[in-house]
Amino acid sequence: MVATAVQTVPAPHTPEPRWRPLENEGWLALVLLLPTLVLLGLFIAYPFVRGILLSVSSSRVGVPGEWVGFANFTRLLSDPIFYMVVRNTVWYTFITTIFKLALGLWLALLLNRNFRFKAFTRAFILLPFIIPTVLSTFAWKWMFDPTFSVLNWFIMKMCQWKVSFFGLFGIEPATSCVVQAQFNWLGDADLAMWAIIIVNIWRGVPFFAISLLAGLQTISPDLAEAAAIDGAKPLQRFWYITWPLLLPVTMVVVLFSVIQTFADFQIVYVMTGGGPANATHLFATYAYQMGVGTGLLSQGAAISLAMFPILFGIVIVQLLYIRRVETR
């Protein structure tokens, strides 16, 4: 045994100079980035090119089309529904963003205080953002049902309380409360738009609130305290200290939200499907109806792509803004 042990002493190992490409930063980066680039190339860049090609041809489902130039786009320009779609989308994005920002900021300021069950409250507040949008939108659709709406019931109850209050002074209402509360939420063009706006605000407020709260927590309370000692009122402290410091976060959150809202699909698809009489169509739902519902692939692709210039503009603004903040 001793003899064998002596014999197996290893010869001193001399490492051969190996070619080790992964020690070169450039090669290593290429290897690490390869899976990402392949997937994004196959399923983002290629579809994008394909989308442009589709939009200048006359394809339908199962029928490869031929080159038609900008016919799909010029047809959109003479399509009254398309104008309605543009107006709806802009209005929807504008009004929901205003409300989401205002309510989200308010909620963030409330949550920025210390109170019992704070962590708990914060966790629950995010639920509308976590739960699959389609599923929670169904809850809203059920709440907006014209025959069984709990909202109409609530409005009727409020009205009845009001009537019985005024009844004490001998004032009689002109119409009955049942009539006053008779809202056909999803059947009326204007009301349907508002219903969709409400659901979008409901879904978006938590995102705004939590992101802005994170921004608020980076602002040192000393600043507000110093201002308070100098005699600044709460509103002044907010306007001259908190708001300017929060502006970078606010900008990014708003731009993110604008992109998502502009390209929204799920809420409208579930709530109204674009109806009544196309009154609530957005770009995405109209593109879906054309491209998938009716099978006019090219027309649908053209409608989708019509979003692109606007989205592109927003992205440019965002990139410029981020660059400015970073170099400052």
Binding site: R50, W106, I125, L135, F138
Partner: protein
């Protein structure tokens, strides 16, 4: 803080907070109560005097039973889970590697590649779903889970990469350099030194990616057609509505049960989720 009398605190703080909570959580309460309410109570018009919306004395499991017996709900749950897990794993793998490369290595075009990935992060699914459906059909992936497992990473990878870049940047370079001086190769230093430190970031990215893919709707709606391939959101939309008839009880039961897995996942990782959410915005 709010100074002054106690009523000011109630008016300016507790009341608004309570109203916010009511607004944000009421739909979920409505979902739950509808799930357990028998049909004969469910379909009472709001103007009838016996409309009692907020409670039921005759809770029933009929809607849930209907869901499991008459529809492929369990299959949908399983499909959604499988697709969400696979696409999360793929995206984490790609995103962590790409995030490491973009934040820690010097190579030509690093900056412009980073910007490109950020831009794809902002591409909404609704921009590309029509050409993608065409491509999926050509690859013969239509109506299979792979159509979603391969396409979901397109919106998950940019997000994971972006988040991980921010995270890697916060880890000091010296940590890695020590390992390199001790003779570790670049890959070894990355796997044994940097990745373990980055676990919280990976968890954040993972939980966020999981909820995003559980949430996804339009790709699943367009790419899948047979009932046994569908995910929960698509299955609920297409199988629980027959023409004009809405099975409201079963719909709400489906919505509730379809939300529970993602809510549980979220409740375990609230802090990670929040840091993922805020990190995804700040970068």
């Amino acid at each position: 803080m709010i100074e002054g009398a106690i009523w000011r605190k109630w008016v300016y703080f507790y009341l608004p907070l309570a109203l916010f909570l009511l607004f944000l959580l009421f739909p979920f309460y409505w979902m739950v109560i509808t799930t357990f309410r028998p049909d004969n109570e469910l379909y009472i018009a709001w103007r009838r005097p016996n409309y009692a919306p907020f409670w039921t004395w005759n809770p029933t499991l009929d809607h849930i039973k209907f869901l499991f017996r008459e529809t492929a709900f369990l299959t949908w749950l399983w499909n959604t889970m499988f697709i969400a897990l696979c696409s999360t794993v793929i995206s984490l793998f790609c995103g962590v590697l790409a995030g490491y490369a973009l934040s820690r290595l010097n190579f030509p075009f690093a900056g412009s590649l980073g910007t490109m990935i950020f831009v794809t992060y902002l591409v909404p699914q609704t921009l590309l779903f029509i050409p993608l459906s065409d491509i999926i059909r050509n690859y013969r992936l239509g109506d299979t889970p792979w159509s979603l497992i391969l396409t979901y990473p397109t919106f998950l990878i940019p997000f994971c990469t972006w988040l991980m870049m921010g995270f890697f940047k916060s880890i000091p370079k010296e940590l890695e350099e020590c390992a390199r001086i001790d003779g570790a190769s670049r890959l070894k230093a990355m796997f044994y030194i940097i990745l373990p430190v980055a676990v919280p970031g990976i968890l954040s990215a993972g939980i966020f990616a999981f909820t995003l893919s559980w949430n996804e709707f339009i790709y699943a709606l367009v790419f899948l057609s047979s009932p046994e391939q569908k995910t929960v959101p698509v299955g609920v939309v297409s199988e629980l509505i027959r023409g004009d008839v809405f099975f409201w009880g079963a719909l709400m039961a489906g919505a509730l049960l379809g939300s529970i897995p993602v809510a549980i996942a979220y409740s375990f990782f609230v802090e990670h989720y929040v840091s993922g959410l805020t990190g995804s915005v700040k970068g």
